[in-house]
Every structure is written in C-alpha cells, then in structure tokens.
Amino acid sequence: MVPQLVHILRTLVTTGYSTEHSISGVSDPFLQVQILRLLRILGRNHEESSETMNDLLAQVATNTDTSRNAGNAVLFETVLTIMDIRSAAGLRVLAVNILGRFLLNSDRNIRYVALTSLLRLVQSDHSAVQRHRPTVVECLREPDGSLSRRALELSLALVNSSNVRAMTQELQGFLESCPPDLQADCASGILLAAERFAPTKRWHIDTTLRVLMTAGTHVRDDAVANLTQLIGGAQELHAYSVRRLYSALAEDISQQPLVQVAAWCIGEYGDLLLEGSCEETEPLQVEEEEVLALLERVLQSHMSLPATRGYALTALMKLSTRLRGDNNRIRQVVSVYGSCLDVELQQRAVEYNTLFRKYDHMRAAILEKIPLVERGGSQADEEAKESKETAQLSEAAPVPTEPQASKLLDLLDLLDGPSGDAQHPPPLDPTPGGALIHLLNLPCAPPPPAPIPNLKVFEREGLQLNLSFVRPPGTRTLLLITVTATNTSGGDVTHFICQAAVPKSFQLQLQAPSGDTVPAQGGLPTTQLLRILNPKKAPLRLKLRLTYNHFGQSVQEIFEVNNLPVETWQ
C-alpha cells in the first residue's frame, strides 16, 4: 500500500492543482497531511516502507511553499513523519534544520510548534538540536506564557557539561523575571542541572545560593538537604560559604530554605566566620554579637517556619562552643524558649538548658562538627558518634536530635571513612546504635589450625571476650574469627548477643553462638564463629556490639577492635 500512497502524494505535490481543493498555492493540504500521517503510521518500525518514503519526504520538504500557514502545516507534518519512521540520517538532519527555520519565523504559532517538536527530538538527535541552542534561549524571553514554558523545558534538556555555565546564567536571568507558576520548574531544573554538570564545587554552591535567593519559596524540599551536604563535603569552601550565607541572611530572612541552610552553616562554622579575612570574598568584619543578634532575629521573626526556628536554635547552641565570648546571651535565649508554645522548640530548649547546667563538661564533645553524611542514609543520634560515654548518655537526659531529620549516620560509614565507598549503606533499625549485622551467604569450610595470636578485646566486671583468628590456607581472602566469652564473676550473664560490623568492602557472616548464657565462676564459655571475606585485601577493621544482662542490669557495649594483627588481612 505504501507505494500507492507515495505515488498519490507525489502527483499531488508536483502536478495536481485545482483551485477548489488548494489553499494559497499548496494543493489540497488536508489530503497531504492525512497521507503523511498514514505514511507515518505505516513506516513506524518498518524498514522497507521507510525506505520507499525517503525520497518523497525529501521532495515534499524542499518543494513546499512556506510563506503561508498551509505550507507550514504540510512541512510540519513532514517533519513529524521523518521523526517517527526509520529515516536516513540526512533526512533527520533536514528535519532538524526545518525546525530550526521555524524557530526563526516571526509567527508565534510556528515557533511554539517548533519548540514542542524539538523537545521530542532532543532525546534522539541531541547534537543536531544543540546547534539551535542560541535561538531557543532567545525564546526564553518571550512574554507569551506557553512559549516561554516550552523554551524553558527545551533549554533544560539542552544543558550539558560544555554549556552549563552559560545556560545557567541565562536560566537564572529567566528565573528572576518569569511568572510564579514557572518559577518552581525553573528552580528545580537549574538545581538538577547544577548537580549533574557542576564544573567546580564553588560554582555549584554559588548557583544553588543564587537560586535560593531568587526563588527560595519554590524550590523542592530536598534542596536544603542537598546544599548542606554539599557544603559539608567541600572542606576548603567552608569559610567562603559561611560568609556568603551570612551576608545573604543579613539582607533577607524571608526565604525559608535559604534561612535554614544559612542557620545550619553559621552554627557549624561560626568560628570561621569570625576569623577575619577569607581570600575568596571581600573581607567581612563580623562581631559575635551581630551573629547572635541575627540568629535571634530569625528565631523571633513571624516569617520563620517552625523547622527554621529549630535550625536557628540548634545553631545558637553550637555557637556556644565555637565563640570565644561568654555564653550568657545564648543561655538566656535557650531558657526563654524553654517555655515556648511550640513543642518541638520547647523540647530542644529544655534539652539544651540541661546541657548547660548538668552536662557542661560534655557540651564541647557533643557539639563538635558533624562528620560528612552519606546521601540517602538514615536517622541516628549525633551523640553516639561524638561522645565516648554512650551508656551514660542513654540513661541521662533525652538526646537532642539532629536538625536534619532525614539523614542517618550509619555506623558502618565510620569504619568506611578512609576507603570512601560510594555505595548506599543498608537500612538500619531505629533503635539507638542500630543493628550491625551484614549478612551474606558464604560456603562453609572447616577451620584449620592457625598460628595467629589470640586477642583479648573486652573486659567488664568479670565478663571477658577473646578473639582467635584462623586463616584457612586454601583461600587467601577468608578469615575465621572465634569469639569466646568467659565469665569469672559471681553472676550469670544472660541474653548474651554479640554482633559485628566490618567496612563495606568486606563480607561478614555470623554463625549462631553456642548459647546465650555465659555461666558464672568460669563455667563453660560461649563461642561464636565469624567468617570474614576480604576480597580487596584491605586492612581489617572490626566493630563489635554486645548486649547482655548481668547482675540484673542490661548492658550494651559498642567498641572497635584495635590492635588487630596484620596477619588477619594480609
């Protein structure tokens, strides 16, 4: 059927001309368009028909008169057909060029149509569309809403690593002047593009900052989290970012995401802010009092959301350790908010108050800088990382929660610090400390005798834990550890559970223990076998967690095993 259709269309285009059917010189455009549509459906995914049509499509594309809308309609349909069938590369380039010509047309309708089609094409013929980038960017400045929306989508699709700086410049200009309904899309588009193609971290931070300042209220919720993570990771830019954020905050405290990020940053890096000069921005002399005043303003402003207030309060608290002056002002603020109506703020204020009064010695340790958080981790206590007295704290005042409620610090991540794996940590239980089991199925092998010395790793009130190591000669990467628990005290140890964690590159398998009661007075010890596979021959690090009941008390211990003999992993 295709050859017949081709024949009909060819005669129509070249010879057929009747006044009643044609519109302004184009013979029967309705019929032409319908035939082209039919050809499109027939040619889709069909090599043979597509080949038969190639010449005809080229002929129609070049011969149609484009001075009137009818001609443009036929041309547009031709372009759509070329895009959909299995056409030759030259034909596709011709189609893109036609669309480019449409873009330069003064008629708005034609430009709209061109932008829509280019958007569909950009997936498949990216480089061809890139050539028309300047024209597309021009269309961003259209006053017409539907046109600028199309131009925005197309521009966002055209951003790549080579033109990211120029494009972001244009898009930010557009963001400042565009109608509110497009602002959300534009802002998230810019942030996404910045994430994917940022040439330097500083540029990335700058861009995100600028977007937050212009369209802060319309950004997505995770923009704050992303930015804090970004800043946290860019160590050399801490001073620079805190200064920029401080000046931005001083000007305007209404954009909530910006305020949140700024408050967090000032809290974390307040000491860098007060230091004096930083070579990347102009020298900014900031007094302690000014910083505190600013944070208090944020706390009291009616424009601040409850979450923002929480950020500001925690930032104030952190500054109490970072600033050199006395903490009276901070203590005042914190005690005032102890009776605030908002429950979240009140809880924080009460906890911080307690921290000032009863646990002042621990304040510095608790409010240390946060280590870098893995993207997509889960929630855990900050204290378990910073302070060594985990047991004491868990009995003491309720632990203040980290303002970034969406991030967790994975215990496994601590071990993984130096190797810096990029995998996602496995999800943890919400219990304090989290479960540490990392199980994988490994084939069983009997443990042969080994010359590696035993290691005593833990002793408390008569309960001792010993590790003995075995390296089976057959497999160079396997290590077997036997954990032996002995009890020399007067009371039984019951509900004994031992769990272990290793860095991500290792694979760990715990086998069932011989029992969960370690009888008193040197009775039969409890043993448990751990199998560790070390394919990368990395230095072994091991963290153990014990829970048990002893003398009527439930005890939980988490510790890292130091002094592991070298033979265990070499």
């Binding site: 009747s18 009643e20 059917h21 519109i23 029967d28 455009p29 309705f30 019929l31 368009v33 319908q34 549509r37 809308n69 009818a70 443009n72 309609a73 036929v74 547009f76 349909e77 759509l80 708005r108 309708n109 034609i110 430009r111 709209y112 149509v113 006053p143 017409d144 809403g145 539907s146 046109l147």
Partner: protein, 171 residues
C-alpha cells in the same frame, strides 16, 4: 478532533460540536472552564495552549472565538487551516457572515460543519463540493416546503368544495 466550540467575547456559547461521548454535566463543565481559559488569553499570545491532556487550538474572528480541542498526535497548524476553511464556507454561504447569521441560522451552520467534518476528521476537502451539497439540501427543503404548502392549500379547497356540494345537495 475531540470537540469544537464557538463562543462570543462575552462567553456566550453559539455553537458546540462534540466528537467524543460525554455526559451533559461534563460538557457543561468543560465548556465553562475552556471559555474562561481562552478568554483570559492576551491578543498577542500564540493560538495553542495545553489544557488537561488535550491541545487547544483557538482563533478569533471579529467577536467570535473558534476553539478546537485536538489530541496529542494531531497537527496544530492544519487545525488552524480547518478552522479557517470552515469560516470561509460560512462566509461563502451566508455572504459576508457575521455573528448574527450564526445566531439566527444556527442549524445551517451545523449542517455546513457536518458536511465538512465527520467524526472529527476532514471528509471533504473541496470547498465547491461542500457548498454544492448544502445547496442541494436547501433546494430539497424548499421543495418539500412548497409541496406541503400546496397540500395544505389543496385540503382547504377540497373541504370548501365538499361543503359547497353538501349545501347544494341540501338545497
């Protein structure tokens, strides 16, 4: 095409042709929303807009808005041509058509539309043929009117003749 609406600058609907089955309530709802959206557009804006999952092509002729809703794979530019062709047909038929013509002769407007479009697609691309078909329909209408007029006249005549005969017989 899914539907075509004609409405005035004040938002009064003059013509509606639906090519998809919808309940009355839905039709009214769509009409209301669409009229509002189209009337809110400024004069220099382009003739296409996205509405729900349809593409709307509209064109303003004097005080009337011609509004078509097309699907994703339809060609917007050719829809503009369809609207223009329809206006030309009306123009040719009524002779320099204005809104009043459509208000008072709306059934003719529907007839012309039905001759031109069928099920949302163009069925006759020749202007002459469409107009010829309408003319023939008009002629047929006149003939039947004429005949029915004559028939009703004839009936009256016959009743008078009968009455006359009866009176004659009586007398």
């Amino acid at each position: 095409m899914q539907f075509m609406l004609l409405f005035s600058r004040q938002g009064k609907l003059r013509l509606q042709k639906w090519y998809v089955p919808l309940s009355d309530k839905e039709k009214k709802k769509i009409t209301r929303e669409l009229v509002q959206t189209v009337l809110a557009r400024k004069p220099k804006m382009c003739s296409f807009l996205e509405w729900r999952d349809l593409k709307i092509v509209y064109k303003r002729y004097a005080s009337l808005y011609f509004c078509c809703a097309i699907e994703d794979q339809d060609n917007e530019l050719i829809t503009l041509e369809i609207i223009h062709r329809y206006v030309e047909l009306l123009d040719k038929y009524f002779g320099s058509v204005c809104e009043l013509d459509i208000i008072f002769n709306f059934e003719k407007a529907y007839f012309i539309l039905d001759e031109f479009l069928l099920g949302g697609e163009v069925q006759e691309t020749s202007k002459k043929n469409v107009l010829k078909a309408i003319e023939q329909a008009d002629l047929l209408q006149e003939k039947t009117e004429h005949v029915s007029a004559r028939v009703s006249l004839g009936v009256r005549k016959r009743t008078r003749i009968c009455a006359g005969v009866l009176t004659c017989i009586k007398m």
